[in-house]
C-alpha cells in the first residue's frame, strides 16, 4: 500500500510539472515552426507571469483578475519583444536571432530583479491548502489546477489550430511558408501572433506553478530549459510530440526525485536529451518516414 501510494503521488507530481513544461514547450514549437526561431527567452515569460501575478494579488486584486491581467500583460510584452527585437532582425542568421533571444532573456531577468528583487516570492494556492486524499496518496489541489489548466489550454489551442480560419492560416504557414505567402498570408504577422500567444501561455504556466515552487527572477531558466528539452525530444516541429515529451520529462524527473535523489533530477533530463539527439535526431516520436506533422 505504501508503495502504490508513493507511486501515485509521484505520478501526480510528474504530471503537474509536465503540464507546466508542456505549456512552454508548445510555445517553442509554435514559434520555431512559424519563424524558424528558437526563442530561449521562453521560460522567462513564465517568470514574468508569475511575478506580475503575485504583485497584483499583493495589491489586493482578486486572484482571477490578477491572473487574467498578468497573462494579458505578458502577452503584450511578448508582442513587443517580437516587434522590437525579432522583427527588425528577421533577415539575420539563425545564430544572430538565437543570441537576440538570449539577450532578451537577460533583459527580462535584469528588469525583474529591479522590480521584485532576488528573493523568491510566494503565491497562495488557487483553492486552499487542504490536501486531497486519493488511494492513500496526498495530492495538492494546486496539482489538479496545473494539470487541468494546461489540458484546457491545450484543448483551446487544438481548437484554434484545427477549427478556426486564422488557426488554419497559421498552420498553413507552418506546413508551407512559401505557399502561404503566395496566398497573401504574411509570415511576419503570424510571427507576431505566435510569439505573443506563446508568451501568454508561458505566463499562465508560471502562474500555475508559482504556488508549488515559488517564483523568482531566475525560475525561467530551468523551466525553459526543460521545456526546450521536451520540445527537442518531440522533434521540435510536432506539437503533440512536444506535449508527450513534456509529460515524459515531468514524470521521469519526479520518479528520479522520489526513488533516487533530487540531485539526479536535472541530470536525467539532460541525459535523455543527449540520448535522443544521438540516436533519434528527428525526435523520439518521429515516424520512420520522417514526415513532419
Amino acid at each position: 500500500m505504501e508503495l502504490t501510494s508513493q507511486f501515485i503521488q509521484l505520478i501526480f507530481s510528474g504530471l503537474t510539472i509536465g503540464s507546466i513544461y508542456a505549456l512552454i514547450a508548445i510555445g517553442f514549437v509554435i514559434i520555431y515552426n512559424i519563424t524558424g526561431l528558437l526563442n530561449l527567452a521562453q521560460g522567462d515569460f513564465a517568470m514574468l507571469g508569475a511575478l506580475t501575478c503575485i504583485s497584483f494579488v499583493n495589491m489586493g486584486f482578486p486572484l482571477i483578475i490578477a491572473i487574467a491581467v498578468s497573462v494579458v500583460i505578458v502577452t503584450i510584452i511578448g508582442g513587443l519583444f517580437e516587434r522590437l527585437a525579432i522583427y527588425p532582425a528577421r533577415n539575420s542568421s539563425t545564430a544572430t536571432l538565437l543570441i537576440i533571444t538570449i539577450g532578451a532573456a537577460f533583459v527580462f531577468r535584469g528588469i525583474s530583479i529591479l522590480i521584485w528583487g532576488t528573493q523568491p516570492l510566494a503565491l497562495r494556492p488557487f483553492s486552499g491548502n487542504q490536501n486531497i486524499n486519493f488511494l492513500d496518496a496526498t495530492i495538492q489541489p494546486q496539482s489538479l489546477w496545473a494539470i487541468g489548466i494546461s489540458l484546457l489550454s491545450l484543448a483551446v489551442l487544438y481548437y484554434f489550430f484545427n477549427k478556426t480560419y486564422l488557426g488554419k492560416a497559421v498552420t498553413a504557414c507552418v506546413v508551407n511558408r512559401f505557399a502561404a505567402r503566395l496566398m497573401g498570408i504574411s509570415p511576419q504577422k503570424m510571427s507576431f501572433w505566435a510569439v505573443s500567444i506563446s508568451a501568454g501561455l508561458g505566463a499562465l504556466a508560471g502562474i500555475v506553478i508559482a504556488p508549488i515552487s515559488g517564483a523568482s527572477y531566475d525560475m525561467g531558466i530551468m523551466i525553459g530549459l526543460k521545456a526546450f528539452i521536451a520540445a527537442v525530444i518531440g522533434g521540435l516541429s510536432n506539437a503533440p510530440a512536444a506535449i508527450a515529451g513534456a509529460f515524459l520529462i515531468g514524470i521521469l524527473e519526479s520518479f528520479t526525485e522520489g526513488y533516487l535523489s533530487s540531485g539526479y533530477k536535472d541530470a536525467i533530463s539532460f541525459t535523455l536529451l543527449l540520448i535522443v539527439l544521438f540516436f533519434m535526431p528527428n525526435g523520439l516520436f518521429s515516424k520512420v518516414s520522417g514526415k513532419r506533422v
Binding site: Y165, A179, A180, L182, M183, G184, I185, S186
Partner: protein, 245 residues
C-alpha cells in the same frame, strides 16, 4: 494589363533575367515557353514580389509593383500557382481551397463561400475528397487543388508555373481545357508557363520564348505554332519526321 519592362533579376551573382520586356492584355492567355533554367520561374517569382529585381519595372493596371510586398500584390489581384503545386500537405482539400481566399476572407466571407461552390463545380472531382489531406492526393488531383486554390483568390491575373508537370497527357489536356474555361467564365487573364509547348500554344492568344534570360521570339500563339525554329527546338518535330509527312 501587365507591362514588364527591361527587367533584370539576379540570384546572387547569377544574372538570370536579362532585360525582359513583354505585355499581357486583359482577358488573354499568354504562354511562355523555354528550356530548363531559362528563368521562367524566376520571372514569375519577380512579378509575385518574391525575388527582387535589380532594375526594370513591372506595371499592373497602371500601378508599379514593388518587391517584398507579396500580400499587397495578392490583394491587387495577381496570384501565382507555383511550380510543383506547393499545396498544404497536412491540411484538407477544403482548407487548402479556402485559404486561397485569405486576403478577402475577413471582409467577404459570404462571397468566399459562393466562390467555393463555384470552384467545386469547376473541379467536380474534388467534391468527393474535401476532407482528405492534400498530401495524399495524386499529382493530378493536387494540381486541381493548386489551381482551385488560386481561383479562390479571385485573381485578375493568374500565373501558372508548369501546371502540367508530371501529369499524364490526358490530364494535361484537361488542365488546358480548364484554363480556357477559366478565361471564358471568370474573365481571368492568364500567364502560363509550360514545357508542354504544343498544348500551351494551342490555347494561348499570345506567346513568347524565353531563352537564357532573354525573350527571343514573341508573337501570336498561332504564328509561333507554325514557326520553324520552335518546331525544331520545342515541338520535337524534327526535319526527318517532316520529310515523312
Amino acid at each position: 494589363m501587365l507591362v514588364v519592362d527591361n527587367l533584370h533579376t539576379y540570384h546572387g551573382y547569377l544574372h538570370v533575367l536579362k532585360g525582359i520586356h513583354f505585355e499581357i492584355k486583359q482577358g488573354e492567355i499568354f504562354a511562355m515557353v523555354g528550356s530548363n533554367g531559362a528563368g521562367k520561374s524566376t520571372l514569375l517569382g519577380t512579378i509575385a514580389g518574391i525575388y527582387k529585381p535589380r532594375s526594370g519595372t513591372i506595371v499592373f493596371e497602371n500601378e508599379e509593383i514593388s518587391y517584398g510586398k507579396v500580400e499587397k500584390i495578392v490583394e491587387k489581384g495577381i496570384c501565382l500557382v507555383p511550380e510543383r503545386r506547393q499545396i498544404f500537405d497536412d491540411l484538407s482539400v477544403k482548407d487548402n481551397l479556402l485559404l486561397g481566399s485569405y486576403h478577402r476572407y475577413k471582409n467577404d466571407k459570404k462571397s468566399v463561400m459562393e466562390d467555393f461552390e463555384q470552384v467545386l463545380d469547376f473541379f467536380p472531382k474534388l467534391k468527393t475528397m474535401l476532407d482528405r489531406p492534400g498530401g495524399l492526393l495524386s499529382g493530378g488531383e493536387q494540381q486541381m487543388v493548386a489551381i482551385g486554390r488560386g481561383l479562390m483568390a479571385k485573381p485578375k491575373l493568374m500565373m501558372l508555373d508548369e501546371p502540367s508537370l508530371g501529369l499524364a497527357p490526358l490530364i494535361v489536356k484537361d488542365i488546358m481545357n480548364i484554363l480556357k474555361q477559366m478565361k471564358k467564365t471568370f474573365g481571368t487573364t492568364i500567364l502560363l508557363i509550360e514545357q508542354n509547348v504544343k498544348a500551351a500554344l494551342q490555347i494561348a492568344d499570345h506567346a513568347c520564348v524565353l531563352d537564357r534570360g532573354e525573350i527571343v521570339i514573341q508573337g501570336k500563339a498561332s504564328d509561333l505554332l507554325e514557326d520553324e525554329k520552335i518546331k525544331d527546338t520545342y515541338l520535337g518535330i524534327s526535319k526527318k519526321e517532316r520529310l515523312k509527312l
